[in-house]
């Protein structure tokens, strides 16, 4: 693991897409393009694109702020204005950033929203977040798209209809009004066709972890892979091209029997294969990742890479039913699944990707993930008979990342995994 990794072609493609978006956002006063703030889970990128609007994702800004070490001061700013210490730090980071001038990840000022599209999927905090933003941006139009929860592990026809009606009667008319663009269903269908393709590729990419060694890390690198589908490029030929390229690069690694690329180069020996539940920590992302790859641990599947859509159970966008498919997409995001469904999904990952263990990264900010994680962990331990590990951190608040605590816990966990593997080998 010596030299810094070379930039692969896929990385260049991704960089171009992201920079293009932020560049376009910085020019809206000249181009007159309308801006839609929205969330990653249940993001309606295809619809936003149909109306030629540009998306802004406050969660992405928050995590980028954390990676640029700016989140602490933003959070402090929000806390000065009555935001509690104990709520989701994404919200506080975003509010603080707004209070300090709304400078986005590329150093350019982000434009104000013309629309706040609240795709209310899998998290109550989203609602509070946009209630807060609405008060900051009184001129923005707010659209609430209520996504019913898969409480009974099903997307029923009535749930789909409820959402399709909201889209048809409330979301689309506001988008038409604000963007000045007429709704064009054929255009949406075409975009959805690319979304399906992107979904196919992303599923194939995350399925490559079935190889030994796994050619990718499905958590730490996975968060980069899901970037394009989650920040507005799902439904574009560029995203399809990116994923094709990424897949071919990964398959080359498989052919050569190579492990994942880490920030310090290629991971040499795969000792442990893990499934991780919960979002990563962003403030100390590299240190956090290093704790794993230094121990030869690779993440073969993670729940977090499914927040913007679950593609590994076979669901895909279906252009022939445009609004219904958008409804299903929203309902099928990971945090909109009930706990037994989450257990089912993660158990399947453990089985399919032959994981040695299961780790929960419990995030203080996020009840949508965290409430119930301990019960899930116990059930998975019983059902799958794999050792489970538990660590705690936060998304973007550096006060809750304790390197030594996490390191100690992981070390004991890997020790336990090591002993278990040794015993299994002896038995064989």
């Amino acid at each position: 693991m010596a030299q810094e990794a070379q930039k692969e072609k896929s990385m260049v493609l991704q960089k171009e897409m992201v920079e293009g978006l932020f560049d376009a956002l910085s020019k809206v006063s000249e181009t007159g393009k309308k801006v839609c703030y929205t969330f990653v889970p249940g993001n309606l990128s295809e619809l936003i694109r149909t109306f030629d609007m540009l998306p802004v994702y406050p969660e992405i800004n928050a995590l980028q702020s954390a990676m640029r070490k700016k989140s602490a001061s933003y959070i402090k700013e929000a806390e000065k204005h009555a935001h509690s210490e104990d709520v989701c730090t994404y919200v506080k980071c975003d509010v603080g950033m707004l209070m300090k001038g709304n400078i986005g990840p590329t150093g350019q000022k982000l434009p104000e929203p013309d629309i706040l599209l609240l795709s209310y999927t899998g998290c109550f905090t989203f609602m509070k977040w946009f209630e807060t933003l609405k008060r900051e941006y009184p001129n923005a139009k707010v659209i609430m798209l209520h996504t019913p929860y898969q409480e009974n592990a099903k997307m029923t026809p009535e749930m789909v209809q409820y959402m399709a009606k909201q889209l048809r009667d409330e979301v689309i008319p506001v988008m038409e009004e604000v963007s000045g663009v007429k709704y064009d269903e054929n255009k949406l269908k075409k975009i959805l066709g690319y979304s399906k393709e992107a979904g196919d590729w992303i599923a194939k990419i995350f399925d490559t972890t079935k190889h030994k060694p796994s050619p990718i890390d499905a958590y730490f690198a996975g968060v980069y892979y899901i970037g394009p589908i989650n920040i507005g490029f799902r439904g574009t030929p560029e995203a399809v091209e990116y994923y094709k390229e990424l897949y071919s690069e990964i398959m080359q690694r498989v052919e050569k029997g190579l492990g994942p690329i880490t920030p310090e180069g290629e991971m040499k020996e795969e000792k442990y294969r893990l499934v991780v539940e919960g979002p990563p920590n962003w403030t100390n992302f590299r240190e956090f990742w290093k704790l794993f790859y230094d121990m030869g641990a690779v993440i073969v599947a993670s729940s977090y890479t499914k927040v913007g859509g679950v593609y590994d159970m076979g669901w895909r966008h279906d252009a022939s039913r445009p609004l219904e498919t958008l409804a299903e997409y929203c309902m099928n995001c990971y945090t909109n699944l009930n706990l037994p469904q989450r257990i089912e999904l993660l158990s399947k990952c453990i089985k399919d990707y032959k994981a040695d263990g299961y780790i929960t990264n419990s995030i203080k900010s996020c009840n949508s993930f965290s409430a119930g994680q301990l019960a899930m962990m116990r059930e998975i331990e019983d059902r799958m008979e794999v050792p489970v590990g538990f660590i705690e951190s936060d998304l973007v608040d550096p006060r809750y990342f304790s390197y030594s605590n996490i390191k100690n816990r992981l070390e004991s966990y890997f020790q336990m995994l090591g002993q278990r593997k040794m015993m299994e080998n002896q038995e064989v």
Binding site: A78, H81, A82, H83, S84, D86, V87, C88, V91, L118, Y120, C123, F124, T125, M127, K128, W129, F130, E131, T132, K134, R135, V142, M144, H146, P148, Y149, E151, N152, E158, Y162, K165, Q166, D169, E170, N338, L339, P340, R342, I343, S362, K364, N367, S368, S370, A371, G372, Q373, L374, A375, E379, E392
Partner: protein, 398 residues
Amino acid sequence: MKKLSELINECKELAFDLSYTRAKQWKEEKPGRAIVGYMPIYFPREIAHAAGALPVAIFGGGDRKQIIKGDAYYQSYICHIPRSIIELALDGHFKSFDGFVFPSICDVIRNLSGIFRQLNIGSFIKYLDFPQNFSKDIGGVFYKQEMEHIIHYLTSITKKEVTAEALNHSIDLYNKNREMIDFIYKIRQDFPWRLNMEDVYYIVRAGTVIPVEEHNKLLEQVCYHIKENIGTPQDKVKVVVSGAFCEQPAVGLIKAIEEAGCYVVDDDYQLGSRMIIGNIDAQSSDPLMALSMGFIKQSQYSSSIYDVSNPKEYRLAKIVKDRGADGVIFASASFCDPSLLDAPIFQNAFNKMGIRYIAFQYSENINQYKVIKEQVGAFSDSIKLWEDEPATVQVTNK
């Protein structure tokens, strides 16, 4: 007619009976009856009543249940109520409950429904998704369908047919129930010394664990008594308590606020019992739609209802004005996302409007209130001393 003190004692017994004795007795009295437990904030109890079931509120264990197993289910940074509900469930307090409804109020309650499913508690679990779309044809229809699912679960146990007539009858009974509770609050607004907040709390909470017919009888008598000019006025300021809609503060805290120099003239402690403002149409040919529209059009402001077209800060400000209150106490359960995320919205608006407030956090199992009492005392003194000065005070206690 019973004496007021007898009625209050009766309600006190019922309100904190974590064995749910009366509900269980009621179920035993006749075959084909069912009990449905529901979590905060609001559940349309009318549908359970019409289906031959008794809706019973589950408010957690408060400071009356030691947590032994529940802590293993929740990280330290999650509020207290889900762990006490799990504790009650695992200790068999909900034996004879047939099903459970988890109204959509926050991610913790939502995911708790999954834990109940995983642990196979009850014969049905229903997460009740309240509509966040407020037009009749969209949100109204969806909510009606949600209620139909619950009716289906219940009637498959009770084998009772839910007719429009039965539903209208149930709606009528709950309308009366809310009217009488409203009357009590009206009296409290003008003559808060007639019945203290602690007693109001017992009286309202008792109604969440017994049949509505029995509660209505109790309420009729309480209303009769408090029409009389009883009690002695004290030199206290009037406040509204907001933010305590789910995990309940221990009674000692409810008492401490009044002892520290405040009359609480409105609150959201047990919001569910007062969620709907005014009556729901009890003569509709489509009573489920009437209930649905009741929720959509007549709900009190709440942290779990999307509020952009009807902002909560103005609604709370109106309550403060209508009740003649001098200030607001924001009381949030520790780690309660909906309440804490609303706090800046309220507080920033109240700073501009010149409405005085304090804020603190509590936990249902904590029964030491010295610090909070001092803070509330200081708040009430500041209001009394500087009556003409618009002022805001913010104190956070954890």
